[in-house]
Each structure stands twice: as structure tokens, then as C-alpha cells.
């Protein structure tokens, strides 16, 4: 080829490429501006709007692990029953040989377990199937099942004068199911607090305690209280709604024989205090809530002045009421509390000292007698009826640790799997639940994102100055593909969001190492929106259909055109219900430095209250009643109350 021909060919191609590139760019910018109604926007990638959920990590099959959830021990202390929710199985193991002897397939993610007093029937909550299954413990076969509320996670059983009763915590429908054991039948479904997660029944069968995991949103600048719900297990009648003042994430509860107590491990939060430090439990600390049968609650610290025991979860009390055993999922420890010493301190303490006890980090040494190391992420605890053994589920090691209560040392372990170290999602979950990445092991990612979800609180990080930019915590369920992250959309990836920035403003340590950060991203991206599968196959009610029409409306009911940029589905574009761009919707507060906020995705939005970047809106309704400004957050001024309700009901289906 001659040089001149080559030059002609080269420059010709270059010109075509330039024209095509410029034209493509100009078209794409015009396309974005047209479909967002925002002329100020420049080039954005196609995936801001055009996403296939099938391509997202959470919609793909993932490895399942035999992670132990609920535990129960037979009355003779010889057998343990273990729910393996990921495997859809319940297994029976011999405590003597530490071997699994029988397996039972239980579809629907079996999670909570309880045996009746004779040890003849095993009752299992199926978290995804919304059912309680009764199993014959001798034949290890399913007998019957009954429908309960949404996402049942915990179950307790007790004999009452009216017969044997079961109380079930329905975590997503915020209520309890009270069942008769024979026949297996739902008697009542009393309302509880937000996310009931643990239940226990007093030995005399007169009162059941349900610990609720999240606070019901109130004023976002006031302490968030969660609830201890007391119900009568005979009738299901609500007795008292106790308050865990400024505390939450209660995932266990146990009653104490000989004393009229129920003890709940929980997290004491301090989200209203600017996070200028994390030392001295400035962000949160762990404690025990001691409630009497009238719902009077005292909170006691579980942490120490320079060592913390993050994410307390399961609790078991021995039959003599002498000791409580508490699993700390974030610090891989089992804490042993001497209840006599605890009672002695309470007896001599003044009312003021009791009230402030939870703030005193030197107090736990008065009654904590041991901290026993466990495997990864201990969550559930159960004690054998003869008090000899304590069993702890090591959830992310696929095992159950057995502690000898006489020596307070490990006596053996039931191995359920290999721990799944080859699975990056499992490794990422270990990072997510481990408090070792924070200063003095004070908290883990899970402490604010239980099950990858929200804790319903707003926090004041000091990186941008004290008091500025109060930030509502966002759910990580369904987070894959919804970047950028942070409310101002500053961080393009989860690794950046969770890396150096978090180390600096929150964890106050070195950043999570890159390989572990990569695993963490795998885990976060694998978290599906709540109840995704079920929602895909559910039909909409007429009200929800009407709400859907409003969501996708381009005109008001009076025939007026809604500007493109104020149509709901423009910014909250399916299938993620976010176009991943920042927008101004008139919600800038007096301490915000910008009015442009990242458009959150709406998958599972029903469960993520409160709303808006600072959490000021308690409910979805408040978005368009209390906090709507000049129709900037969608055109809603034409709504009547029915239309608003229709829209909200539709949003709850996402």
C-alpha cells in the first residue's frame, strides 16, 4: 500500500470514528436528557436505566452452607436438634458421639426450634414459608404444619393450665402467633414491636416475652426505642409493651427461674451523639435488659472499658437460674454472667445508679465471670436440661460448640460442614459479622445492618463537621447494581464505600485489607431484596394495581401532564426502581451541604423505614404529606387520601 493511500485510509477511518463517536455521544446525552427530563445531565452509562436483574449477583444461584440456626436439646440431654436454614434441613445429633444421626428435609428455610416438655414433638419455624412445622421427635417425621405470620424466626413452648402453647415471633409482619400445640392451631396473632426476633415463656406459663429487633421510627432526632412485648400465652392477649430505651437489635430472650426476670441481650445505641470517637462506647455498646413480669426494665452493660463483645445474640439461662450464657456474634465469645452477683448489685444500687448502669463500662466485671472463645459468629445458645452442657451455634463455621459448664471449657464440637472457606460469599459474610475490624472490637457491619438490612437509625458522622449531614442507614439487601453509594452518591463501588472512608470515620482502625474487602463486596452483592422470589409470583390486589398506575402515571387524574422529571418511574426506574442518579427533591435540611441526593432503589422499601437521607420521614405516607415540597418529590398534590394509600400499598409490593 502506498503511503498516501494508507494516510487517506487512516484519516478516513479516524473521521468516521470521530463522527460516529461524537454522534453517539450526542445521541446518548439527548437520550438521557429526554428520558430523565433533566437538561443539565451529561453522559451517563446505559446501565443507569437498562439493567437486567438476572445479571445481578443476588439473583444467581449461590453455594449453600450447613450454618446452624436454631438449637434444641432433648430432655434427657442426649440429643441435639439443629436447624440448617440454608440447607432446608433439620438434623439430629448425638451429644455423646458429636455425630449427626438423622436428617429431615424441611422446605422453607427452617430457622427456629423448640421441643415440647416431654421431648416428643419438635416445632420448627420456616422463615421463608411462613409456617410452623410439627415433627415427631421419635420417628423424626413431619406430622403437620400451620400457617403463621410473615418470616417466623423464633418459637417458644410452655405448658399452661389451658394446655401446651407455642408462641412464634413473625419478624416481617411485626406480630406474634400464639398456637395451641394439640391440635396445632393458631389461636391469636397479637401485634408486637418492629421485627420480633426472640421469644421465651415464663415457667409458670403466665407470660411470654417477645424481644423486638428494631425500633419503630419516631422523631429522628429523639432516641429510638425498641419493644419487649409481653403477651398471655394462654389467650394471646397483649399484656404490656415494655420499652428498651434507646436500645435495639435484641435477638435473644430467656426467662430466669427463681426470679421473675426475662433477660434480653441488646445493643445500646448512641446514634444521636456525633461520632467524634468510638472509644467508650460512643457509637454503641452491648448490654443486658432485665425485665420483670410487669415490663419494668433495667439495662446493664456487657462490655468492658477497653474490650467489647459485639452483637450479642442468643442467651440461655440454666434451670437453677444461677448463670446466663450469652453469645456475642461479632467477637466470637460466650459471656458467662453470674446472676446472683448481678442480683446483688441490683439490690444495693440506688434507682439512679440502676438507671445509669448501662453507661458505666466498668460495671460488667461485677458479674461477668468468664469470656469463652468460640468459633466464628456464635448466635444461638441452648443449655441441656441437666445443666451440664451449653451448646453454641458457630454459624459461620458450620458447627455447634459444646461447653462443659463445670469447667467453662470446650468439651467437643458437632461438625456440620467444612466452614465454606472456599466460597467468597461465605468469607465475605465473615468479614461482615466480625467486629475485629473496629476499634476495640466495638461493632461489626452487622451491628448496623442486621441480616444486611437496616437498623432504622440515622447517624452523625463527623467527617463533614459536627452536626452536618445526618445520615439515614440504608439497607444492603438488593444493593447489587445500585451504585453509586452514600446518600450523596460519592462512592462508585462498595469497596470504596466500605474501605478507607469507613476506617477513617467509623471503624477508627486500619482499613479492611483488600482481599477481605473484595470478599465483603461479594457477600453484599449476594444479598437479595427481602422476599424477592415470592414477590415475583404474587398477583397485585386491586388497590396495589391502582397504586401501580399512579406510580407509572404521566398525567394527573385531572388530565394535567406530569413533567418527566417528576414522574415516579423516571428516577425510580424499574427493575431496581432507581436510575442511580442524584436528584433534588426538596429535602435539603438546615445542616445539609447539598440538596442533591442519591436516588435510593425501592426493592423492599416497605421494610426500610425511616425514609429520606436523614431519616426524617417515619413512614412512606409522610414522604408526600409532611415532607413534600412544591411537588418536587413527584407530583402528588392532586392525590386524595385513597390515592396516597394506593401508591403506598403498591410500593410495599416492590
Amino acid at each position: 500500500m502506498k503511503q498516501s493511500t494508507f494516510a487517506l485510509w487512516f484519516f478516513g477511518c479516524l473521521a468516521v470514528a470521530l463522527v460516529a463517536g461524537y454522534g453517539g455521544h450526542a445521541w446518548s446525552v439527548a437520550h438521557v436528557r429526554r428520558w430523565t427530563g433533566r437538561p443539565e445531565l451529561g453522559f451517563t452509562t446505559c446501565t443507569h436505566c437498562h439493567v437486567a436483574t438476572e445479571s445481578l449477583a443476588w439473583s444467581k444461584p449461590r453455594a449453600r452452607h450447613p450454618a446452624p440456626a436454631g438449637l434444641a436439646v432433648s430432655p434427657d440431654g442426649k440429643k441435639a436438634y439443629i436447624a440448617l436454614d440454608e440447607m432446608n434441613e433439620v438434623v439430629e445429633a448425638e451429644l455423646g458421639s458429636r455425630q449427626v444421626t438423622r436428617r429431615l428435609a424441611v422446605p422453607g428455610r427452617p430457622f427456629g426450634l423448640v421441643l415440647d416438655q416431654e421431648g416428643e414433638h419438635l416445632y420448627i419455624t420456616c422463615r421463608d414459608a411462613d409456617r410452623v412445622v410439627a415433627v415427631d421427635a421419635r420417628s423424626f417425621k413431619e406430622l403437620e404444619s400451620v400457617a403463621v405470620g410473615s418470616a417466623p424466626v423464633a418459637i417458644a413452648c410452655a405448658a399452661t393450665p389451658e394446655g401446651e402453647r407455642l408462641v412464634v415471633a413473625n419478624s416481617l409482619s411485626d406480630n406474634l402467633s400464639v398456637l395451641s400445640a394439640s391440635p396445632l392451631k393458631e389461636l391469636a396473632r397479637p401485634q408486637s414491636g418492629r421485627e420480633p426476633y426472640a421469644v421465651a415463656i415464663a415457667r409458670d406459663g403466665t407470660v411470654a416475652f417477645a424481644a423486638n429487633r428494631l425500633a419503630v421510627p419516631e422523631n429522628y432526632l429523639a432516641p429510638a426505642n425498641s419493644e419487649l412485648t409481653l403477651v398471655d400465652p394462654r389467650s394471646g392477649k397483649m399484656l404490656i409493651r415494655g420499652t428498651f430505651a434507646s436500645a435495639h437489635l435484641a435477638e435473644g430472650v430467656a426467662t430466669v427461674p427463681q426470679r421473675s426476670w426475662a433477660i434480653t441481650p441488646l445493643i445500646k445505641v448512641r446514634n444521636l451523639v456525633p461520632i467524634t470517637q468510638v472509644a467508650n462506647g460512643w457509637v454503641m455498646s452491648c448490654g443486658l435488659a432485665i425485665s420483670d413480669h410487669r415490663g419494668n426494665i433495667i439495662q446493664m452493660p456487657l462490655d468492658e472499658a477497653h474490650d467489647y463483645f459485639a452483637d450479642p445474640s442468643g442467651i440461655a439461662v440454666d434451670p437453677a437460674g444461677k448463670r446466663a450464657y450469652i453469645a456475642s456474634g461479632g467477637s466470637d465469645r460466650l459471656t458467662v454472667v453470674d446472676l446472683d452477683r448481678l442480683a446483688a448489685w441490683l439490690e444495693k444500687a440506688s434507682p439512679g445508679a440502676r438507671r445509669e448502669a448501662i453507661e458505666d463500662l466498668t460495671l460488667s466485671s461485677e458479674y461477668v465471670i468468664a469470656r469463652i472463645p468460640t468459633g466464628r459468629n456464635p448466635r444461638q445458645v441452648v443449655i441441656s436440661p441437666d445443666s451440664k452442657w451449653v451448646l453454641i451455634s458457630e454459624r459461620l463455621d458450620d458447627g455447634v460448640l459444646i461447653i462443659d459448664t463445670a469447667t467453662l471449657k470446650p468439651a467437643g464440637r458437632i461438625a456440620l460442614g467444612d466452614g465454606g472457606s472456599g466460597d467468597p460469599i461465605r468469607r465475605g459474610e465473615r468479614v461482615f459479622t466480625d467486629a475485629k475490624y473496629t476499634y476495640q472490637r466495638q461493632f461489626s457491619c452487622r451491628s448496623c445492618h442486621p441480616d444486611g438490612h437496616v437498623d432504622g437509625l440515622s447517624y452523625d458522622f463527623d467527617g463533614d463537621g459536627i452536626g452536618d449531614n445526618l445520615l439515614d442507614n440504608r439497607s444492603l439487601q438488593g444493593v447489587a447494581g445500585t451504585g453509586p453509594f452514600k446518600w450523596i452518591g460519592k462512592n462508585p463501588t462498595l469497596a470504596i464505600q466500605c474501605g478507607i472512608r469507613f476506617a477513617r470515620v467509623l471503624m477508627r482502625t486500619d482499613p479492611i485489607p483488600p482481599r477481605e474487602l473484595d470478599d465483603l463486596s461479594h457477600f453484599l452483592n449476594s444479598q437479595p431484596p427481602p422476599r424477592w422470589e415470592r414477590k415475583q409470583h404474587a398477583d397485585l390486589t386491586p388497590q396495589q394495581e391502582r397504586g401501580k398506575r399512579i406510580f407509572f402515571a404521566t398525567m394527573t387524574t385531572t388530565g394535567k401532564t406530569i413533567p418527566r422529571e417528576r414522574q415516579c418511574h423516571t428516577c425510580h426506574r424499574p427493575p431496581l426502581y432507581s436510575n442511580r442518579l442524584s436528584s433534588s427533591v426538596g429535602t435539603k435540611g438546615p445542616h445539609d451541604t447539598t440538596d442533591m441526593f442519591d436516588t435510593p432503589h425501592l426493592l423492599g422499601v416497605a421494610f426500610t423505614a425511616p425514609y429520606l437521607h436523614d431519616g426524617r420521614a417515619k413512614t412512606l405516607e409522610e414522604l408526600w404529606t409532611t415532607y413534600q415540597t412544591n411537588d418536587l418529590h413527584g407530583v402528588t398534590s392532586y392525590f386524595n387520601k385513597h390515592q396516597l394509600n394506593d401508591l403506598v400499598e403498591y410500593l410495599k409490593t416492590l
Binding site: 467524634t276 472499658a305 474490650d307
Partner: protein, 498 residues
């Protein structure tokens, strides 16, 4: 004839050579074998205080040396790590037990600097070149050096003209000051949580002729200065705090301020450091020179068991290993009669240290203090009942050696909170005033903020190891009061408060 290497091949070879060098320098170089110990030996038979100019001259008179001793710790088997130096002492080991640092003096009349011992009998490597000298090295999680400088005068190290401060030496030898208090900061050690623990003068004792010492912590960037332990009772002199795996911080405490005080081994529990001070051993130890955690919960201590019967003359101190629960001192683990063993550090891997990512903003000249409730005071604090009468808060700063200025006064919000911008890296103090301008409570200039640091406190004379209540402070919603310009500070401070 061999073909010349192509350019790309040469490049590859250079890269390979670089990799090999880096591999050698990172992992294949010699290191000290674990299992031994680094010991400071001082010549025997010399007076303890004669002619010492500075504190290290007193501790390590000419001829003092740092040696490596390995099992079975026989006398005379020492390998000298400070060969060629006029005097040396104060060894510390890295958390992995492979590095040994100490203070040394190249020649008599020179300054003390920090050296790193080299394995294989090579001469120690000089790490610092600091005016006024450097002493008491410690190592942070990333291997960065922390030290104390200048070396104080032997006569009265806690009331010098220029107080000793802690410094950090980063990559490339860049030195950054970490403490900015009005009184000296000494004896740094790094806790497992990454904080630097050190000794300084208790705020309640500032200005006294014989100051009483306490234990304090800072982050590795000098932020979050916090009182850690030892407050109103106990021996005034404190040295060599060391954290143990069992959750104890051990230290040496002495009751007198003489030239050669009798130091006893004491400890506080991390779980409640202000209310757990006890003797570390069940038997009496009068002259303990050093204390380090050893294997399996035992302690390695250099103790003068009084064999010479002449405490004013050196020569009877030896290294002891003291297992947990020991009722008697036992026989020395290592004792060379020709030397006085005054410090011993075991070489062994210890729990990894946490790091801390700094939030400093060097471009700023101020920091911010948020007090959650000025009306809140611990019950045992002086005048705590009057805290509710606080009308205003006066903020003081130590602008120079004897120059105390008032930056200004602020009125707390109704909930007791206030938010104020203050000058960074100067000693700050507070006076709580009632409506008659009478001082109710006072903290003399003793704390500081670093550049861009946001600092919080619970109240005035706040309780220790206490979490805040979950209440939104009113001041957090308001702009901070700006008292950050030291030049604008003009309020006079009465001489009696200086």
C-alpha cells in the same frame, strides 16, 4: 560469541533483580531468633547518681550496654547489640519479636538517639537524629517509630523548661510531634488496640512541686488524648507501663521523688483501670527496674533483690521470670555478676497491634471540641455538686512557657452542651464560672486537639470509662463558637491561676 541481550530482555532482568532484592529485604534477611531476650546491662560498683546530666545518663551510665541473651541464659553468653556505643539501654522489641530498638549514645558528651540492633553482630543502625536527643522507643502497628524527646534533665525530669513530648517518625524519617501538653510525656508503649499509652502529670497535680503521674493514651496521630488510669491515690511516680494478654496493664510505681526511687510492680485491669490498682505480685518487690510480659502469662522482671545491701551502689539486679501466682521471687533467670541487669525484654511474637487511620487535616490550624453536658460531673470530683450552677465556660490556652491566655468565654446551651473551635496543638484548659464569675471547677491547660480533630467530652470532670447518653446535644445543631485564633486571645488570666 554470545548474542547481546535485547533491550526487553535486559528490562526483564532488571525487574527480576529488583524483585529478588525486594524479596531479600522483606523476608529473607536475618532477624533475631525468638526465645531470647534483650537485656540492658549496667557496670557494677559505680555510684547510682554521680555526675549524671540527663535522665538517661542516670539510668545508663557510661559503659552500659544492650545485649542479646538466648536460652539457657548462661552468664557470659551475651551477644552485644550496642557494640561501639558509649552507653545504651531501654530496649524494646517489635510485636513480632524480630526487631530490637534501644536508646544509645555514640560517645560521651553526645546526645542520646534511637538505634535498631542488627543481627549477625553488625553495628546498630542509627534511626533518629533529633536535637535534644531521643529516648524510650516504641513501635506502632505499621512499624513506625514512636519516641520521647528531648531527654530530660536528671535532676527533675517532670518539671523541665522544655517538657519532653512524644514523636512519631514515619517513612523517610519525617518526624511528627504527637503530644502537646504543658507537662512532659514519657514512657510510650503501644497497646493492642493501637493507642499509645504513656506517663504524664495528672491534671490535678499540675503546678505542684512534686507532680504526681498518671497513665494517658493518644491515638497514633496524637488525637483523643485521654486519661487512662491512676488518678487521685497511690504512688506519685510511674514508669514503664506494659499491657499483658491477660488484660492487665503493669507498671512500676514509686512513692518518692528521689534520685533513685524504689519502684514496685503494680497493675490495673483494662476492664476498670481507675478502680483496680493492685500490687502485681503476691510477694514484696522493692526495687523493680523493668517489667515485661513473658510467655504463658509470666512476667520478666529485673529486680534488685538487695543482695549487695547497698542500694546506693549498683550491682545486685538480675533478671527473674515470675510465673502467674508465684508466692516467692525464686532464683534469677539470668544474672551476670559483673553487670547489673536493669531491663529485660523477651523476644517473642505477641498479639498483632491494631492500626488507626488518621483523620487529621494538616491544612487547618484549629480543632473542635463538643462538650455534651457541662453540668455533668463525676460525683467524686471537686465541687461536683456545683456543676449545675455553671453559667459560662472560660477556655484557656498555654501560649508559651509562662504565658497563659484566655481564648474567650462561652455560654453552654440549656442542655449543657457547647461546641467550640479552638487552636490546635496548644495546651488547653477550662474554667467553669457561676453567675458571679466565680470559678466553680477548673482544668488547667493540659489537653489539646490536633489540626482538624473533632473532640468530645461528656462533661466537666467527666466520669471515666463512661458512655454518653443518647441525647442529641443542642450545640450539635448550631455553628461552633470560634475561639480558634490564639492571636485574638486577650483576656488576662489572674496570676494565681498560672
Amino acid at each position: 560469541m554470545p548474542r547481546p541481550l535485547s533491550a526487553s530482555m535486559r528490562g526483564r532482568l532488571v525487574i527480576l533483580a529488583g524483585l529478588l532484592v525486594s524479596l531479600w529485604s522483606s523476608g529473607c534477611r536475618e532477624s533475631f531468633p525468638t526465645g531470647g531476650m534483650a537485656v540492658t546491662q549496667v557496670p557494677t560498683g559505680i555510684p547510682t547518681a554521680g555526675g549524671a546530666e540527663d535522665l538517661l545518663d542516670l539510668r545508663y551510665p557510661p559503659g552500659s550496654r544492650v545485649v542479646l541473651v538466648q536460652p539457657p541464659f548462661t552468664s557470659g553468653s551475651e551477644q552485644v547489640l550496642s557494640a561501639g556505643l558509649s552507653a545504651a539501654g531501654g530496649p524494646v522489641a517489635s510485636a513480632d519479636g524480630t526487631r530490637i530498638l534501644f536508646a544509645g549514645k555514640a560517645k560521651a558528651g553526645g546526645s542520646w538517639q534511637i538505634y535498631e540492633a542488627q543481627p549477625g553482630g553488625k553495628p546498630a543502625r542509627l534511626l533518629t537524629a533529633v536535637a535534644g536527643g531521643a529516648m524510650e522507643p516504641a513501635l506502632l502497628a505499621g512499624g513506625e517509630l514512636v519516641f520521647c524527646s528531648p531527654v530530660p534533665n536528671a535532676a527533675n525530669p517532670w518539671r523541665p523548661e522544655k517538657p519532653a513530648a512524644l514523636y512519631r517518625q514515619g517513612p523517610g524519617g519525617r518526624v511528627e510531634r504527637l503530644t502537646f501538653g504543658a507537662s512532659p510525656a514519657m514512657d510510650p508503649t503501644v497497646l493492642r488496640d493501637g493507642k499509645i499509652l504513656f506517663t504524664s502529670v495528672r491534671a490535678s497535680s499540675l503546678g505542684e512541686e512534686r507532680p504526681r503521674l498518671g497513665l494517658f493514651t493518644i491515638n497514633n496521630d496524637g488525637t483523643e488524648f485521654t486519661h487512662f488510669a491512676l488518678e487521685d491515690h497511690g504512688a506519685p511516680l510511674v514508669r514503664r507501663p506494659r499491657e499483658s494478654l491477660s488484660g492487665t496493664v503493669a507498671f512500676l510505681a514509686a512513692g518518692t521523688n528521689q534520685a533513685r526511687p524504689k519502684y514496685a510492680a503494680e497493675g490495673v485491669r483494662m476492664a476498670k483501670p481507675f478502680a483496680s490498682r493492685t500490687p502485681l505480685f503476691e510477694f514484696l518487690v522493692e526495687r523493680c527496674h523493668s517489667l515485661e510480659e513473658d510467655r504463658e502469662g509470666s512476667w520478666l522482671a529485673c529486680i534488685d533483690a538487695g543482695a549487695s545491701g547497698k542500694p546506693e551502689v549498683r550491682g545486685s539486679s538480675a533478671v527473674y521470670r515470675i510465673p502467674p501466682g508465684s508466692k516467692v521471687l525464686g532464683i534469677p533467670l539470668f544474672d551476670n555478676p559483673e553487670w547489673d541487669e536493669v531491663e529485660a525484654v523477651p523476644l517473642m511474637p505477641k498479639a498483632a497491634l491494631m492500626g488507626h487511620l488518621s483523620t487529621l487535616m494538616p491544612e487547618k490550624s484549629t480543632g473542635t471540641i463538643l462538650c455534651l453536658n457541662a453540668f455533668f460531673s463525676r460525683p467524686e470530683a471537686a465541687n461536683s455538686t456545683a456543676a449545675s450552677k455553671i453559667h459560662r465556660i472560660r477556655i484557656l490556652a498555654q501560649a508559651g512557657a509562662n504565658q497563659l491566655v484566655a481564648l474567650g468565654e462561652i455560654t453552654p446551651q440549656t442542655d449543657g452542651s457547647f461546641l467550640v473551635t479552638v487552636p490546635a496543638e496548644v495546651p488547653l484548659g477550662f474554667e467553669a464560672l457561676d453567675d458571679q464569675d466565680q470559678v466553680i471547677q477548673r482544668l488547667p491547660p493540659s489537653i489539646w486537639v490536633r489540626r482538624g480533630e473533632n473532640r468530645s467530652c461528656l462533661g466537666c470532670h467527666e466520669p471515666h470509662n463512661r458512655s454518653p447518653q443518647n441525647i442529641r446535644p443542642i450545640a450539635a445543631g448550631l455553628p461552633p463558637v470560634n475561639l480558634g485564633d490564639l492571636k485574638k486571645a486577650s483576656l488576662p488570666v489572674a496570676p494565681e491561676y498560672r
